[in-house]
Symmetry: C2
Subunit: 169 residues, 2 copies
Amino acid sequence: MEFTELITKRYSVRAYKPDPVEDEKLQQVLEAARLAPTAANRQPFRLIVIHTAGREEELKRIYPRDWFVQAPLVICACAVLSEGWVRRDGKRYTDVDVAIVMDHLILAAANAGLGTCWIAAFDPVAAREVLGLPEDVEPVVFTPLGYPADEPRPKERKPLAELVRYERW
Amino acid sequence: MEFTELITKRYSVRAYKPDPVEDEKLQQVLEAARLAPTAANRQPFRLIVIHTAGREEELKRIYPRDWFVQAPLVICACAVLSEGWVRRDGKRYTDVDVAIVMDHLILAAANAGLGTCWIAAFDPVAAREVLGLPEDVEPVVFTPLGYPADEPRPKERKPLAELVRYERW
């Protein structure tokens, strides 16, 4: 899809069909994530691909919505803190890196006709337990991945005049 | 451009032509940023559009490379911390939000034939001074915006096998 159309059409999908995600499409989506730029090209991230079938109750400890486990797959984008670039003043850029990776993944999914939803409001303690994450690995965002069973809603966004400054604050 | 082609073609542009960016293209790029999703739809960001002409030395205090001010425009993506969504455990999502916004902007620029380069290694103290940022506003990433005067280099990325886990860590 053309990029402008793609970002207009992507929306937060909160109902999924049970249909499986074809492996070819999963690989396309992961490949888009792989191409994402990261600070100093450190690529300090890992993607965990989770099949929801049979693990619904366990996964709902991470995010307790039925639609979270309705999709056949859930993807967790993690930062590997020790691999991340840190600026001289101590500012860590792993959240930025993981977000770029997930944005690529989510747009690639929409491009393939798949639905996703950015999830930040998960339980990080449950996520660490269920996914067996080492200390150094931080779960940053989740998304289901599957075919949408709902309809897009119009985007509500602030006007550019509120979001853009020219020259100085 | 088709999305897969677009993410393959985008690269970090480190030499720019002096040609101006047409206002229509600038607005397209800003509009793509505006459409980006953010945690709880808070949209806790501001984009500062800076004309480099005549401000080269001042701007190079922020990031001391000649190519940074070679482009006619520089864009700074800022987080407005007090507007951002924070999870119950205290985890702040403004870096993620600003990164999604900037990823939309950077991909829209490539789609319009414009060059950009993610810059995190700037001097945050100089950025605050030069841009007159209030305490609550954090500069997160910069990019020049202009027509590329260099050539793409092949992307160096880790193989998917190193970046993806299935089911658990």
